[in-house]
């Protein structure tokens, strides 16, 4: 997970065999998760995966059903002390601003903690500054647009400088430009203050933009958790890979292992992968669509590892570029930029060669 040096510090929160129940059924099981000082976690999962329930447990609004949950080194128990609760702030998915000015809303957590009006407003103005919302200070909550309200809600969550900041879908219902702007403001604010943050989201792109650590919640459990590149490069299981958007999942047979490579066979084609500790005879080869490159025409005599002759089956424009569906010995999906696709003059039926590095193939 984290580097050994950081691991020696006691985690901000620590979960073991944690089970959360809602409406009489288990919604989420977390075998083990430690979140440490200064980390930004995004827990990603589809709707109904128990994200909000987990966040409410971390916010000490609901006790866990079983297992251990520790916050700041101690279990919060059935009725956590006010002093313990005030070390965290949870911002709900709804902005839930009070019918008052934006400044008063942002100052509220400080006022609740006994800070005098002048001190609270000073800190509130600083928080508004962090989220580029200073000009909104005097506005009434109901005069704010959705995006403005979201900025105020985040500034409010940030204002009291909680040791653990919990955010439920912090960018929900924002259009993409506002989301990106707000995400980078939040990231900067988190890094500048060193605040530990756990956000939940159903959107992988949000996780990628904000997090340094991700947890994948699938099928009622925490399926995988760790530093973001580790999880996205090396999904621990097929379901994780599918969820995080690894589009090429190929059943493979392992032919040989060596110190610098593993050779596998997929549908009669031999491929080379980076070494891994995976055991057994069969595995799932995971290749992200953006790691698949295309070259015009057949590759001919050029010998390259992991080069497959294919035919273009379909072109699907998407927000991140052009998704190219390929027919060959096995189906593949490649994600190209619009410019690259234009340059290759791709059209359905065109002959192409698909290429990917051995390090792009991850065995699960």
């Amino acid at each position: 997970m984290s580097s050994p040096a950081l691991s020696s510090i006691a985690p901000i929160t620590s979960m073991r065999e944690l089970v959360l129940r809602r409406g009489g059924r288990d919604v989420l099981r977390v075998e083990a998760l430690d979140i440490r000082q200064g980390e930004t976690w995004v827990l990603v999962g589809p709707n109904g995966s128990g994200k909000t329930t987990l966040l409410r447990a971390l916010g000490m609004l609901e006790p866990p059903s079983s297992g251990t949950l520790e916050l700041f080194g101690r279990p919060p128990g059935l009725s956590p002390s006010l002093e313990l609760r005030r070390r965290t702030v949870l911002a709900f998915q709804q902005t839930l601003l009070l019918a008052d000015t934006a400044l008063a809303n942002v100052a509220l957590p400080l006022r609740l903690r006994g800070v005098d009006r002048a001190g609270a407003e000073k800190a509130a103005r600083e928080a508004l500054e962090l989220f580029q919302a200073s000009t909104l200070a005097g506005r009434r909550a109901r005069q704010l647009s959705g995006g403005e309200a979201r900025r105020i809600a985040l500034a409010r969550a940030f204002a009291a400088k909680p040791e653990l900041l919990l955010l439920d879908e912090p960018f929900a219902a924002l259009d993409p430009p506002s989301r990106e702007a707000l995400s980078s403001d939040l990231k900067r604010a988190l890094k500048a203050s060193g605040t530990t943050c756990v956000a939940v989201s159903h959107d992988r792109a949000e996780a990628l933009a904000l997090a340094d650590h991700v947890g994948i919640l699938l099928g009622g459990k925490l399926a995988q958790a760790g530093p973001i590149d580790e999880v996205f490069r090396a999904p621990a299981a097929e379901e994780v890979a599918r969820f995080i958007g690894v589009e090429n999942l190929l059943p493979a047979r392992i032919r040989s292992r060596s110190a610098d490579a593993i050779r596998i066979e997929v549908a009669g084609v031999e491929l080379t992968c980076a070494p891994s500790e995976i055991g057994g005879e069969t595995a799932l080869a995971c290749i992200r669509a953006q790691d698949v490159l295309l070259a015009e025409g057949p590759l001919g005599h050029l010998s390259a590892r992991n080069a497959i002759a294919c035919r273009v089956a379909a072109l699907e424009p998407s927000s991140s570029g052009i998704r190219v569906r390929l027919d060959g010995p096995f189906p593949l999906v490649a994600l190209l930029t619009r410019a690259a696709a234009d340059e290759l003059r791709l059209a359905p039926g065109a002959q192409v060669t698909a290429l990917f590095k051995s390090s792009a193939v991850h065995l699960a």
């Binding site: 409410r56 916010g59 609004l61 006010l82 609760r85 005030r86 965290t88 702030v89 949870l90 911002a91 709900f92 709804q94 839930l96 009070l98 019918a99 509220l108 957590p109 609740l112 903690r113 409010r156 969550a157 009291a160 919990l166």
Partner: protein, 227 residues
């Protein structure tokens, strides 16, 4: 025409009789409202936020209680307060305090029910969001009450109107005693009985004025808050 002139004269010159009755009316109704709010706002908050068996039944009871007939409230308080009753030794029967108690009984269900509705209208999540921002139970309650101030003011208006206009309970536990427990409504009933229509009308106008100015003040407060 002559009735109108006589009424106007009563309002002008009958002041020494009229205005103390008006003042007592205001005192009794506001005391009743204050007692009802002291009980009703926390109870309504508890009903809105609590998760306990019988909660729905209690909310239903409060809703039904909004329609309690003032005479019934008067009778219940009288049964408690008269000398042979359980609280007879307090000697409260036929005092403004007894009237305030009966009026509190009338207003409490209104306050409980409309407070609960006002808090529930804020949604399920706001109470938890406030806790998650670091509010104690007290702070949470105070903020929710502040946030629901418009429905609460509406509740106060509804209750105040009901209290100012009720006659049955005031008559029964107050007894319409001159200079003691005579309020605008009971005085009106008595003056009509005695054929003093001009005075009764003057009392009625004063009552109307009182009701209008109270609603005016509360509406003004509402609009200041929303501005």
């Amino acid at each position: 025409m002559s009735l109108a002139a006589e009424t106007a004269a009563q309002l002008g010159t009958g002041g020494s009789e009229l205005w103390p009755v008006g003042l007592l009316t205001l005192q009794v109704a506001s005391s009743g409202l204050l007692i009802a709010s002291a009980i009703g706002i926390p109870a309504g908050l508890g009903l809105a936020l609590g998760r306990f068996p019988g909660r729905r039944a209690l909310i239903g009871l409060a809703n039904a209680g909004m329609g309690i007939p003032p005479v019934l409230a008067g009778l219940l308080v009288a049964l408690l307060l008269w000398r042979s009753g359980p609280l007879g030794s307090l000697e409260l029967m036929y005092t403004p305090a007894a009237m305030a108690l009966a009026q509190a009984l009338i207003a409490t269900p209104v306050i409980v029910s409309l407070t609960a509705a006002g808090i529930l209208q804020l949604g399920d999540e706001l109470p938890d969001q406030l806790r998650a921002l670091g509010a104690s139970r007290w702070q949470q309650s105070w903020l929710l009450i502040k946030e629901a101030r418009l429905p609460l003011l509406a509740a106060a208006m509804a209750a105040a109107g009901r209290l100012l206009s009720e006659v049955g309970a005031s008559m029964m536990v107050g007894g319409n005693i001159r200079g003691e427990t005579r309020v605008l409504t009971t005085a009106m009933v008595m003056e009509v009985r005695q054929g003093n229509f001009a005075l009764a009308l003057a009392l009625g106008l004063l009552l109307l004025l009182l009701a209008l100015s109270i609603n005016g003040v509360l509406t003004w407060l509402q609009q200041r808050k929303t501005a």
